[in-house]
Symmetry: D2
Subunit: 139 residues, 4 copies
Amino acid sequence: MIYIRKANYHETDQMGVIHHSNHLKYMEEARIAFLDSLGLSYRKMEEEGMISPVNHIELDYLSPILFGDEVYISLNIIEYTGVKISFEYTMTDKDNTKTYLKAKSKHCFVKNNKIISLKREYLDIHNTITEYYEANKTL
Amino acid sequence: MIYIRKANYHETDQMGVIHHSNHLKYMEEARIAFLDSLGLSYRKMEEEGMISPVNHIELDYLSPILFGDEVYISLNIIEYTGVKISFEYTMTDKDNTKTYLKAKSKHCFVKNNKIISLKREYLDIHNTITEYYEANKTL
Amino acid sequence: MIYIRKANYHETDQMGVIHHSNHLKYMEEARIAFLDSLGLSYRKMEEEGMISPVNHIELDYLSPILFGDEVYISLNIIEYTGVKISFEYTMTDKDNTKTYLKAKSKHCFVKNNKIISLKREYLDIHNTITEYYEANKTL
Amino acid sequence: MIYIRKANYHETDQMGVIHHSNHLKYMEEARIAFLDSLGLSYRKMEEEGMISPVNHIELDYLSPILFGDEVYISLNIIEYTGVKISFEYTMTDKDNTKTYLKAKSKHCFVKNNKIISLKREYLDIHNTITEYYEANKTL
């Protein structure tokens, strides 16, 4: 999936570039749009009492994003175990001539303050993710 | 009450000043510190199911805040009815030679999605606020 | 002009709504998109050394914005003097059945740390704004 | 060095915890306070035309930070080459009974859009950092 995001003025800092904390926000937006595209609404998941906190993030800042830039965020699942899920992100410009960022994030699923297995407790969601993961696995 | 707040790098924008949305965050921090100083913990209020949303804000931006500046925020209650509360804020530098911002905010109190009267439902809190308000009223 | 903006998860607070400081960011985005639609690129204006700081803002928070909501921001110029410009904003849902916010903002134009008159120093920009303002004035 | 930071309400999200993008802001604040404690003012460095962008960040989110929590951020230099510098961060509560986050960040130094060697171009700064690094190296 590609999520497109225009960089906003209020996200810049006095270095004249998008502040590096915003890349995490862009990644979150892409992740939520991606889940939506699979028919998994994060809003609905939360309404049913489930959350998916971030456990680990790694970011390589390769080129600064400037105010007004259109950022193309491609996202893929790189690991899914039924309990943990990991995503990989690449942010580029439209023509893919400039790479802004490469990143990874790892998440679990929590209900009633306990880590749960989607495989055991939300088989529908588990199957949807598994199907996508298997079909898009990069060898 | 005076709440002192150092302006952070991540709050700047590419104009080279603290972005104007952060002033609302500084005001919120000052408001919460002020309630704390009265013995009213906002964290505890929320744990008891009460929230205090913002209804109205007015801001006059008088002088830009720069990264590293120490901002002195003085805060006063300018109206309290038992149902609504209004605050007034002045942000200056340490020596009061520069005024960054003058602002006002108006709030109500909500429980179970309904506006409540502190006077009727939280008499302790009502009395604490009333006492402060009466003692610090500017004529 | 209508600027459409989806409310993001990272903009929520623990009250379960979009934090009230983000409304200023939505307003800024709408303002910049509006200037773009007039052929006035804020990015280009800054590259030529001009900035347009905020002098005054007033906000009436009428209904909370929730994560995932599509916010329709309509914007109009309510005053333009050649030196100062004021905007009016209304944020609603798609069907205009719910109003989230009504707000106003006032701005000036600054170059080399001095307030300038667009009328005297940037006649092109002045004429573009005047034309729009006169054509869209609400009586 | 230990940098102490109270978690703010406006930093929470609707999960009821400090949003994970804010940890990067806390790290930046700690880094700037640390440089200050060495006599190296980041504000002054920028005024002289030097910036220090982020190249790489890794974060392990171990325990959620809640509104009102006092976060103790300890920071150390784990690598310094004269051209690149890496920091390590640990965020805990006051009594060190809870660890919120462990993280690393890598930075370079840039002047006139070029990566520079502090060793060659800012020997004073280079010596200050080297001295601290050698004295606090963990074996």
